[in-house]
Symmetry: C3
Subunit: 211 residues, 3 copies
């Protein structure tokens, strides 16, 4: 099993858990769990593959990902009632999935010999878009847009760290490990200690009509 496949599998499994937990909040049935789990789990990597022209996309080439998603969704379906707070579980699993998906995206871009800008972008796309689709489809406030938190910023910093490590001559696997570490550190630090960047402030926050 190549590093690319291992990273994609891990990101897919953990994102699938967050999708299934979100499906539980919407009280869907088991097929609904699998559907939302799949959307979340392969959404980011699918966009990455499409943007890079890497088709058929990864889960068409190797359908094992679909099996992994189904297992994750089933697991949540039968155990979610044991959780004290499903929302907190979503937050932390999502952070873990982000920290695997960003290096998964970075790694694919590196393998295809893209430059640092595309490497960083593919980390962000792979990490952030699955969760964004999950939240838009299930009508949740997108985690990616929550005020006073680092999310895209964590993915961005992870991508920059990987690009920098490679530039400084580190090996690919070490760069990906640094990428995962920086991403998780910033995301979890934001959740635990309120680390954030200054947000745009205005009064009133919105003028004009509102959706």
């Amino acid at each position: 099993m190549t590093l690319t496949v291992a990273l994609d599998l891990a990101a897919v499994f953990v994102f699938a858990l967050t999708g299934a937990l979100t499906a539980s909040r919407a009280q869907l049935d088991i097929v609904g769990f699998i559907f939302i789990a799949a959307l979340t789990a392969v959404g980011g990597g699918t966009l990455r593959d499409l943007f890079l022209g890497r088709v058929p996309v990864f889960w068409v080439v190797d359908p094992i990902y679909i099996g992994v998603i189904a297992v994750g969704a089933l697991l949540v379906f039968v155990t979610a009632h044991l959780l004290e707070s499903r929302y907190r579980a979503i937050l932390w699993l999502d952070a873990a999935a982000l920290a695997v998906a960003v290096p998964a995206g970075v790694n694919v871009a590196i393998t295809l010999n893209h430059g640092p800008a595309v490497v960083v972008m593919m980390g962000i796309v792979t990490g952030c878009f699955g969760g964004l689709m999950r939240d838009v489809v299930c009508n949740e406030v997108p985690l990616v847009l929550r005020k006073g938190e680092l999310y895209v910023t964590a993915a961005f910093a992870g991508g920059i760290a990987a690009a920098l490590a490679l530039y400084l001559g580190q090996s690919g696997p070490l760069a990906l490990l640094i990428c995962a570490g920086v991403t998780f550190l910033l995301r979890s630090g934001s959740m635990l200690f309120g680390w954030s960047l200054p947000a745009y402030k205005s009064r009133p926050p919105r003028d004009g009509p509102r959706g």
Copy 2:
């Protein structure tokens, strides 16, 4: 006209009607009708083509689909006021479109010699994503996620039925007919008789913030 084109045309036309009816609920003008009709009608098949690397996508290769969509949208624009309930019309036309679009997706995957897992996935993608885009863009509750109904499940069962029929040595056209029948039977049975899978239940249904 090949079977692939015939199935795509039929699915496109009926989905276009549901899109135009949804546009009528949002009181759009005729171009808005065509826009939402097009999004609904080609959304699922476009994703299928992209995921499989079948580009340019089907409606770029043969723009007749655009004409079919425009005709469907015009038809709804001038006749929708005759309907007693536009919502009930959307539900039933959507069920019919699903029952044609799932075999349309299945058929393309078979033609490209994909295995059963991809065949089933392409049935689901082609059947479910056009309506999902329609509902997200128009801010309707997605039909695909309605509690206590079979929707993705109907598409899933239709895809499985087709894969099984092929495996048992049936001809392609018969497998697609069985696929359409199973999909429509489950979807309409769910609407008429409340057939459903057990949904995830919890108290409270959601903890944490809500979108």
Copy 3:
């Protein structure tokens, strides 16, 4: 710099401004500004490239677009408080971006020798989908669907005008200029003078459940 690149760059920059202004209404941080600006700025052109099979997509081939987006987002982050109404600024910048993005899409389709139907569709896709994604993700009422306004219609008319000008033997650059003019004229006339097409009217506007 080719005409294609110049048009894409201009559309990307102005759409990025509207995305960043929408991010300011949601009180995001600077990375959130860049994220929404990027989604808005490259959303339509990315779909165009995917539908036409023109991969890797334009901003992967030439990452200068990412730089342009970051500059636009920063500019808005530090100057948006000077605006009297950010909402009005979004409306007018969006109209300007539409009037550049439609000819950008038309131009790519012409360059690839597609027929008039695909030319018009690619103008609409490139012009309308970036703003639509921005509004869906940020939970704003999509500009593209606002009642009593011309939006998709303006893009459609611009595409038709370009196709007609080419058919009548005009040069490519002149056809694109006419396309931009027609699009902006209709969109701005709609905003200033209430130009509109008759909308579908019914009583009640919706029956059945509502999202």
